[in-house]
């Protein structure tokens, strides 16, 4: 078996991308004769309507059995002006192919020689950087023969899930008058990303808000059909819409009016979505202990020719990292007047949010990781010992602090350390104070 040099093959592959067809639209220059023969206000004259002229020319325009050029100039029907006849066309060129679409190709293998070709085994395979996928293999049932000048056709399909360069490799193994020949042909195309998705997550108390911005990176307007947020287990999601109505995202019942399509303009047009995400009550316990902050994924569907869908899913979207909710430290009171170099007392409350006794604890002010100089520090013993706190109970602490610089300063890095479990709880968020002179 030889891989014969190019040009000596009897067979050759020819391919054409086959996607859904589309309705071409081209509003034509076609007119009503009355709008050409007469001034536009001529019909104010009632006598004109009686003219035999009009009926002669009107009938000409509606006579569609007359296959002359008249129908390119005159309007048969008022909606001819739309330039949209219901005729379907395949795209003129390969076009762009995007992630999430289905690649479909018509492949024709043609025998251009003057003799019959036999025992043809055809394979078609898609190769990307990461994988090879077999689309077609006729080895189990080889094509018996292709006569001189004849051809054999097939259609292959592949869901595009990877970006970058693709090669479709078509190979034919055949008998060409005694010699077994091998023909490989390569067809290349590139897959691009049609959309980019930017997300922002904000947490307000127990509710997380997810803002998603979808941007169209293609050269034509994109019609986005659905953008659904699939929450991770234990989460529930509600989509928020500008008109104030809350629609539970997964309760579109069959028969409900289809949502109008959302147009996202070409080359950078965007559309925003807002979701409200809450933990279902059963999930909160497990999640808090697992410290999981995966919120879920966005699933986007758009439509191309004749409603053919393309689908993409984002990666897992993460929420704001959990701060430890076992122990809660709150600032209850800071004195209104804080003087430079004079000790002041800050009233804190440590709450045990768990169902078991926690502690005893040690509380101190940690050094900043940036090793910045601190202008607010503990006055006196640097570590305060706090006894155990019962389940769901709380205890009051008074930290004695002193500020060594004027102006707006921060109390930062208050750490609570569980001496029994040898665990540190996240430091309290910075508190700002204003330091005045004496």
């Amino acid at each position: 078996m030889s891989t014969t040099p190019q040009g000596i093959h009897s067979l050759a592959f020819r391919v054409m991308r086959l996607c859904n067809p589309s309705f071409p639209v081209d509003p034509p220059f076609r007119v009503d004769p009355a709008d050409l023969f007469f001034g536009e206000d001529m019909f104010d004259d009632p006598l004109l309507a009686l003219s035999p002229l009009l009926s002669t020319h009107l009938s000409k325009s509606t006579d569609s059995s007359d296959m002359s050029f008249a129908d390119r100039y005159l309007l048969h029907h008022p909606s001819d002006a739309m330039g949209f006849s219901g005729l379907l066309l395949l795209p003129q060129s390969f076009g762009a192919i995007y992630l999430g679409e289905t690649f479909c190709s018509y492949i024709s293998i043609n025998n251009s020689s003057t003799f019959e070709v036999k025992d043809i085994i055809i394979k078609a395979e898609i190769q990307t950087e990461r994988e090879r996928i077999l689309l077609l293999d006729t080895s189990k049932s080889p094509v018996g023969s292709i006569r001189a000048g004849g051809h054999y056709d097939f259609i292959v399909e592949h869901d595009v899930k990877e970006l970058g360069a693709y090669t479709m490799v078509c190979t034919a193994l055949y008998n060409d008058g005694g010699e077994r020949k091998y023909l490989p042909q390569f067809f290349k195309f590139v897959v691009a990303n049609p959309l980019s998705v930017r997300t922002k997550v904000r947490t307000v108390k127990e509710t997380t808000y997810l803002e998603a911005c979808i941007e169209n990176q293609t050269k034509s307007n994109l019609y986005v059909d659905q953008v659904e947020f699939e929450p991770a287990p234990h989460w529930s999601v509600t989509i928020l819409k500008a008109d104030g109505l809350l629609h539970p995202a997964d309760s579109l019942t069959a028969g409900e009016i289809v949502k109008p399509p959302i147009l996202v303009r070409s080359g950078g047009g965007i559309h925003n979505y807002l979701y409200q995400i809450k933990l279902s009550s059963s999930g909160s316990e497990q999640l808090k202990s697992k410290r999981s902050n995966i919120l879920g994924k966005l699933q986007i569907t758009w439509r191309t020719n004749l409603g053919e869908p393309g689908r993409l899913q984002t990666q897992q979207i993460l929420g704001v990292p959990w701060s430890c909710q076992e122990m809660e430290l709150q600032v209850l009171e800071i004195p209104s007047l804080i003087n430079l170099d004079r000790p002041f007392s800050v009233h804190l409350k440590l709450t045990n949010l768990t169902e078991r006794e926690m502690g005893p604890f040690e509380v101190w002010l940690s050094q900043n990781s940036a090793n910045e100089e601190k202008f607010v520090m503990i006055n006196g013993l640097q570590i305060m010992v706090v006894p155990q706190v019962e389940a769901f109970g709380s205890t009051d602490l008074y930290l004695n602090l002193i500020a060594t610089k004027l102006g707006v300063q921060r109390i930062s890095g208050i750490v609570v350390f569980d001496t029994l479990e040898k665990r540190t709880f996240d430091p309290l968020a910075d508190v700002e104070i204003f330091v005045e002179s004496d």
Binding site: P28, D44, S68, D153
Partner: protein, 350 residues
């Protein structure tokens, strides 16, 4: 037929023949019907240079034919320049009452309405879509004001004419928005048209097609069912635009589309064959059937269908506008000739 009493002003004299309306209008019209646009340009040029046009309305009608011919020949910049030689359309120069000697007892605008239409559509072809859309919407406003004006003057025929023009401009707008995939606007405009005083099966079918394009298959089926009901209830009176055969074919083609989108190409082909049997000049059915055969892996038959059509309807081979099936014939025939380089060039650009 009652002959109107002869008026003394030329344009309304008898309305007997086209040549009463303008100098050698019958000849211009004949050339237009035959698609001889270059001949029209020659004739206009000759007529002008020989100073054979004597009245303002003659000039305007000739200019309109010239501009239309230039547009048909895709000479959009030339067409635009020619229109620019005119004053503002609403100028008194183009009103009958400005020339009482020529048009006694006549008033109003002598601008042929087509000129306003072409003026609005030209920017679209000159890559200035926004300007084109603005002009269309302004034209719509202008038409609506005219309708009100004529209604208050009880000029019934004129009202009918202006309403036809309103309908026409709305259809143009739907087409232009559709071309840019602005489906929401299209759906609103089409539904608005449909909700007016008549039910138009062709329009409802087009609505169905648009719904199909955006993936609203259920909505499309509802629209197509409406059309079928209109056929069964014989709701074609007042709508002389569609013959019985055309109406039936419309219904079959709508059915075929539903099958096609559901990838049931065999049933789609069957529907289209029924259409072609009834009317062998149904180019949409012919073209779409050929397309279905492609999806059924039957390239040979697909080409045969189109070649046969070409023999029977030679005029469709000319691809003056994008959607003429001749283009599709070339497209499919070329597949067989296309050679892709073996070392891997891009997919064929057909």
């Amino acid at each position: 037929m009652d002959e109107p009493t002869p008026a003394t002003d030329r344009p309304t004299n008898q309305f007997g023949s086209l040549n009463n309306l303008a100098h050698e209008l019958a000849s211009l019209e004949d050339l237009a019907i035959r698609g001889s646009w270059r001949s029209i340009i020659d004739k206009v040029s000759r007529t002008r240079s020989l100073n054979l046009l004597t009245s303002p309305h003659d000039h305007l009608i000739y200019l309109s034919y010239n501009v239309l011919a230039l547009s048909k020949l895709s000479r959009f910049a030339d067409a635009s320049s020619e229109i620019d030689t005119l004053d503002d359309f609403n100028s008194h120069y183009y009103k009958y009452e400005t020339y009482p000697q020529l048009y006694p007892n006549r008033s109003g605008s002598m601008i042929p309405f087509s000129l306003r239409f072409i003026h609005a559509q030209l920017p679209m072809k000159l890559e200035n879509r926004q300007e084109g859309l603005d002009r269309f919407y302004l034209l719509l406003k202008f038409i609506r004001e005219k309708i009100k004006e004529k209604e208050s003057d009880n000029l019934h025929d004129s009202v009918k004419t202006w309403k036809r023009r309103e309908n026409f401009v709305l259809n143009c707008l739907i087409g232009h928005h559709l071309g840019d995939k602005e489906f929401n606007v299209c759906l609103d405009l089409i539904k608005d048209l449909i909700n007016r005083d008549y039910l138009d099966p062709v329009l409802v079918s087009k609505l169905g097609c648009i719904q199909m394009q955006i993936g609203d298959i259920e909505g499309a089926k509802v629209s197509f069912n409406r059309v079928e009901m209109m056929l069964n209830e014989g709701k074609n009176d007042g709508y002389s635009f569609l013959s019985e055969v055309q109406f039936r074919n419309l219904v079959n083609r709508n059915k075929a589309l539903v099958y096609l989108v559901g990838k049931d190409y065999v049933s789609a082909v069957r529907e289209y064959e029924e259409c072609i049997e009834r009317d062998h000049t149904d180019v949409v059915a012919i073209n779409n059937k050929a397309l279905c055969l492609m999806y059924l892996r039957d390239l040979s038959d697909s080409i045969k269908v189109l070649e046969k059509a070409l023999e029977r309807i030679p005029t469709i081979a000319l691809d003056e506008t994008l959607f003429v099936p001749g283009f599709e014939v070339r497209l499919i025939a070329e597949i067989v000739q296309v050679l892709i380089s073996k070392d891997g060039r891009d997919f064929a650009r057909l």
